[in-house]
């Protein structure tokens, strides 16, 4: 018992005892802290360590035209994918040769994705052709690390034909991401944007259990993806095609709509663009090119183009006069020029129209008649009627981005220009010139309003699922509208749109030749026509504007004629 006999050694042994006990107590406390106090925290951490969550992409709803043609669908894009868990670096040359891609390019792409987890395969050749696919399938057994993945790519088979209506999709912005709460392509314009909530669906969730080197151990579907719903639009493709062909030489747009329920059968804005460019992540360059392209193809002129309405506005001035109680029999004499104090305002027909009543004024689109009438009605009268029929207000069409026109008022002029409203302004306004601006879709709604006997109907494309669009009855004497329809019919039978009188359908309408800002004659003018048919029982309204199309009778009227003819010959398509 050596230790017992030597007090110093005994003391030091006891000291050793105490050290062991105290340090083990420390260990004990540490484990207790980690496992008992913070156990739940670390347990969660261990779960998160092993869990990876991947989205299961939902299918975006398809869009159909009125006759059932798919106008927005998907195309399977065949991508050659690389499973990096099986990939060996030394095979890189062999793979590059097999896929006929540049070795450096391949190496670069693999490096680019090196930061994303290994269990996610990466695309190394996108959108391959079917020929390539069969070539690949025949030899793929030699390349276990490669496989084909089918990615549903948004596809618009008619390319630029309906693009301004359909819009396009793209990657969500930060705000949009917050709103929809998941990463998926989202509607960025047109119908795709307007009805995004219906079309988009909801992504599913896949849970992967992986090890520390990101090798997949287990896979489980947590939530199945919910596919988006399909839409049916009132678009008639052959009509759309007809318009595209007719309008090809001019910037401008055409709207064909039903006057009674607001369905838009055709809306084409020229120049147009191919929305397929936006569907793929890999074609950023083309997209940038589109934004800078001549003629601004991304601009939807039908809803965002603001134009002087020109003589089409005379209908609104006439309505204002009637509303103010001025008789349609009121006559003025047109000598070809109108003098107001020391100013001269010309009629477009220099020899002069002679004496005209209101119908005559409309039929011949006589400026002098409307200078007189406008002054008689007064700016307040014109403004109040135009506000009542919401001529320069957004129509609420079901594609986003609509702009509204400009209805000048004395108050507006005081604020903007700091000047009072002069009678000369009223004179200019009376023939649809000056400050006044409208969008083509506003004109379409206005002419439809005349045609349907006083209902302001929201123009729209959506047919199904069914949504109720606004229909507003405006308190206007039906007799006034009947009189205006009669005048518009006579525009066709003996007036400025006489070319349309040879059609086998009774058309009514109004032409317009609006001076552009640059002024001048002939080709510098915007060519307008808006009218409806059949005259006795109006069904469709056609609105045409061709920028710098010269005189309305040269461009806009013949295009409208083709459309009315199409309607007459293919009425069954419009059901």
């Amino acid at each position: 018992m050596y230790g017992e006999r030597h007090p110093l050694i005994k003391f030091r042994i006891i000291f050793f005892y105490i050290t062991v006990i105290s340090l083990f107590t420390l260990l004990f406390v540490r484990y207790w802290y980690l496992q008992v106090l913070k156990g739940e925290y670390y347990y969660r951490a261990s779960r998160e360590n092993t869990l990876r969550v991947l989205p299961l992409i939902s299918k975006r709803g398809e869009i159909f035209a009125l006759s059932g043609e798919k106008i927005a669908t998907y195309k399977p894009a065949f991508n050659i994918m690389l499973d990096r868990n099986r990939f060996k670096r030394k095979n890189i040359k062999k793979i590059a040769q097999f896929l006929k891609i540049d070795k450096k390019e391949l190496r670069k792409r693999i490096r680019k994705y090196s930061s994303i987890p290994r269990y996610i395969p990466i695309a190394i050749k996108e959108n391959v052709s079917l020929d390539f696919l069969s070539y690949f399938e025949a030899r793929k057994s030699d390349y276990p690390e490669l496989f084909v993945d089918i990615e549903p790519l948004r596809y618009y088979p008619y390319k630029d034909l309906v693009s301004h209506v359909l819009g396009y999709i793209g990657e969500p912005s930060v705000e949009e991401l917050k709103r929809i709460g998941e990463y998926t392509f989202i509607g960025k314009a047109g119908i795709e944007k307007e009805y995004d909530d219906i079309l988009r669906g909801k992504n599913g969730l896949k849970m992967l259990i992986v090890d520390s080197s990101n090798r997949l151990k287990e896979e489980k579907i947590v939530r199945k993806p919910v596919d988006g719903k399909s839409l049916k639009l009132s678009i008639i493709l052959p009509l759309q095609q007809l318009i595209k062909d007719e309008l090809k030489n001019y910037k401008g747009c055409v709207i064909v709509n039903n006057v009674n329920d607001g369905k838009i059968y055709a809306l084409y804005s020229n120049p147009s663009f191919d929305p397929n460019v936006f569907s793929s992540r890999f074609e950023r360059g083309k997209w940038k090119g589109l934004r800078r392209a001549r003629g601004n193809p991304l601009l939807n002129r039908a809803i965002r183009g603001r134009y002087s309405p020109g003589s089409i506005f005379k209908i609104a001035v006439a309505l204002s006069a009637l509303e103010k109680g001025i008789s349609p029999r009121t006559s003025y004499f047109c000598p070809g020029v109108f003098k107001y104090k020391n100013l001269e305002f010309k009629c477009w027909f220099e020899p002069g129209h002679g004496k005209l009543n209101m119908i005559g004024g409309i039929v011949h689109s006589c400026n002098v008649y409307f200078y007189n009438l406008g002054l008689k009605v007064g700016i307040e009268g014109i403004d109040s009627t135009c506000s009542k029929i919401e001529l320069c207000e957004k129509t609420g069409i079901d594609i986003p981005g609509e702009k509204k026109g400009l209805l000048p008022t004395p108050e507006w002029k005081r604020i903007i220009a700091g000047q009072p409203w002069y009678p000369g302004d009223t004179i200019n306004l009376s023939i649809g010139q000056g400050y006044l601006l409208v969008t083509p879709v506003e004109v379409a709604r206005f002419i439809s309003f005349i045609a349907n006997g006083g209902k302001l109907i929201t123009p729209h494309f959506l047919v199904s699922p069914e949504v109720n669009f606004q229909v507003k009855d405006v308190n206007v004497n039906p007799e006034y509208l009947k009189m205006l329809r009669k005048a518009m019919r006579q525009v066709v039978t003996k007036g400025t749109a006489i070319k349309l009188s040879f059609l086998n359908i009774k058309v009514a309408g109004k032409t317009g030749t609006a001076q552009t800002i640059s002024g001048g004659e002939g080709k510098e003018n915007n060519s307008w026509f808006s009218g409806f048919a059949p005259y006795d029982n109006p069904e469709i309204c056609v609105t045409v504007i061709a920028e710098r199309g010269g005189h309305s009778t040269d461009i806009a009227v013949p295009i409208a004629g083709k459309i009315f003819e199409f309607y007459k010959n293919n009425t069954e398509l419009f059901q």
């Binding site: 018992m1 050596y2 230790g3 017992e4 030597h6 110093l8 050694i9 005994k10 030091r12 042994i13 000291f15 050793f16 005892y17 062991v20 006990i21 340090l23 083990f24 420390l26 260990l27 004990f28 540490r30 484990y31 207790w32 980690l34 496992q35 008992v36 913070k38 156990g39 739940e40 925290y41 670390y42 347990y43 951490a45 261990s46 779960r47 360590n49 092993t50 259990i209 992986v210 090890d211 520390s212 080197s213 151990k217």
Partner: protein, 360 residues
């Protein structure tokens, strides 16, 4: 009644070895060649049992007579290792024997303890004198130097700690202790600046704040803390630990084996093993206290010091209390040289206990 056998110690060691072997079975599931490791470890355990019997049955006092020869043979072996050794994890610590990789620095621990015993035996004075002290430092220090040259700092530190504890218990002068503590502090500052490699400094800094390098040296600590913590009170169940099975734990069958155990058996298991392990050390210290002579006493203290230090570091490392060092946990970690050494040491202390009343 004279008790010849310390059954408490035997039970504690048996239970620890049992837990250790079970844990190893789980830990090697994701390790390459796991089933072979299990078979080998079984052979080492059996071999360890026979070696323990051997060291238990011979008289340790007679054994000490052979120490000079054994010591120089060991030195020779350590030098051979430096020449023909195989490099694993950056250290030249192994000799390839074909059927298994032998690590001489492990059994050398036992030889170091025996050497201390021998040096104390040949010294006749009651307390430690300067001459013996210097001899002990020189002879054990030489072994330590050879191991540092491999370089295997982890294993070398075991020798240093053992040396310190042994000198302390032998009655080293209080002034000298204070002097040595100051020297050690200065030495560590010097080592920090001039000896430690950046990765070693990193490991030490990581203990203070593992998040400073979560993907580098902090990674192992964070993952091992997650493993331990996620075991909660009752554990995830035997062979059901996700951290080790999904390879988040490095070296699950050697250095980080206690994290595997903690994850699967929870705090209940940890408390059991900690208690068993501490009781085992206390039991060995008790043997030192009751040992017949000074050499017996000091050898038991050396064994206790080695078990204490290795257990503390190995179990402290997985919970981020001490820097990541490659120190195995006795009876748990896989390793032939280690296993047979630990069992031999247990045999030796049981021998010391058995001979505590001998007259001759």
């Amino acid at each position: 009644m004279k008790k010849e056998i310390d059954w408490f110690l035997i039970i504690e060691v048996t239970l620890l070895a049992l837990f250790g072997y079970l844990t190893l079975n789980s830990a090697v599931l994701t390790v390459k060649g796991g089933s072979l490791i299990i078979k080998k470890q079984f052979i080492f355990l059996s071999l360890g049992f026979f070696l323990a019997m051997f060291f238990f049955l011979i008289d340790y006092r007679k054994l000490l007579d052979f120490v000079p020869f054994i010591y120089f043979a060991t030195l020779f072996l350590l030098i051979i290792t430096l020449i023909v050794g195989r490099v694993v994890h950056g250290s030249k610590s192994w000799i390839n024997l074909g059927f298994f990789m032998f690590q001489p620095s492990e059994p050398a621990k036992l030889i170091a303890i025996l050497t201390v015993g021998y040096l104390v035996k040949v010294n006749k004075s009651a307390y430690l004198n300067l001459k013996t002290g210097i001899k002990i430092i020189l002879f054990v220090g030489l072994m330590c130097m050879l191991i540092l040259l491999q370089p295997d700092f982890g294993t070398a530190s075991i020798y240093i700690v053992m040396l310190a504890v042994v000198l302390f218990v032998l009655g080293l002068n209080r002034k000298v202790i204070i002097f040595l503590i100051i020297l050690a502090m200065l030495g560590s500052v010097f080592a920090w600046k001039y000896v430690f490699k950046p990765y070693q400094r990193n490991r030490i800094l990581t203990v203070i704040n593992p998040e400073r390098d979560p993907l580098g040296s902090g990674y192992q600590v964070i993952q091992s803390k997650i493993a331990v913590g996620s075991g909660r009170i009752f554990g995830k169940g035997y062979k059901k630990g996700t951290q080790s099975k999904l390879k988040y734990l490095p070296e699950p069958h050697t250095d980080f084996i206690f994290a595997v155990f903690s994850e699967e058996f929870g705090f209940v298991g940890v408390a059991t093993v900690l208690t068993l392990y501490m009781l085992m050390i206390l039991r060995i210290i008790n043997i030192a206290r009751v040992a017949l002579d000074r050499e017996g006493m000091i050898m038991a203290v050396g064994v206790a010091a080695i078990f204490f230090y290795q257990g503390l570091v190995s179990m402290g490392m997985v919970v981020g209390l001490v820097p990541t060092t490659g120190i195995p946990l006795p009876f748990f970690s896989y390793g032939g040289s280690g296993t047979i050494t630990y069992f031999s040491m247990i045999g030796l202390v049981l021998n010391i206990y058995r001979k505590r009343f001998s007259i001759i």
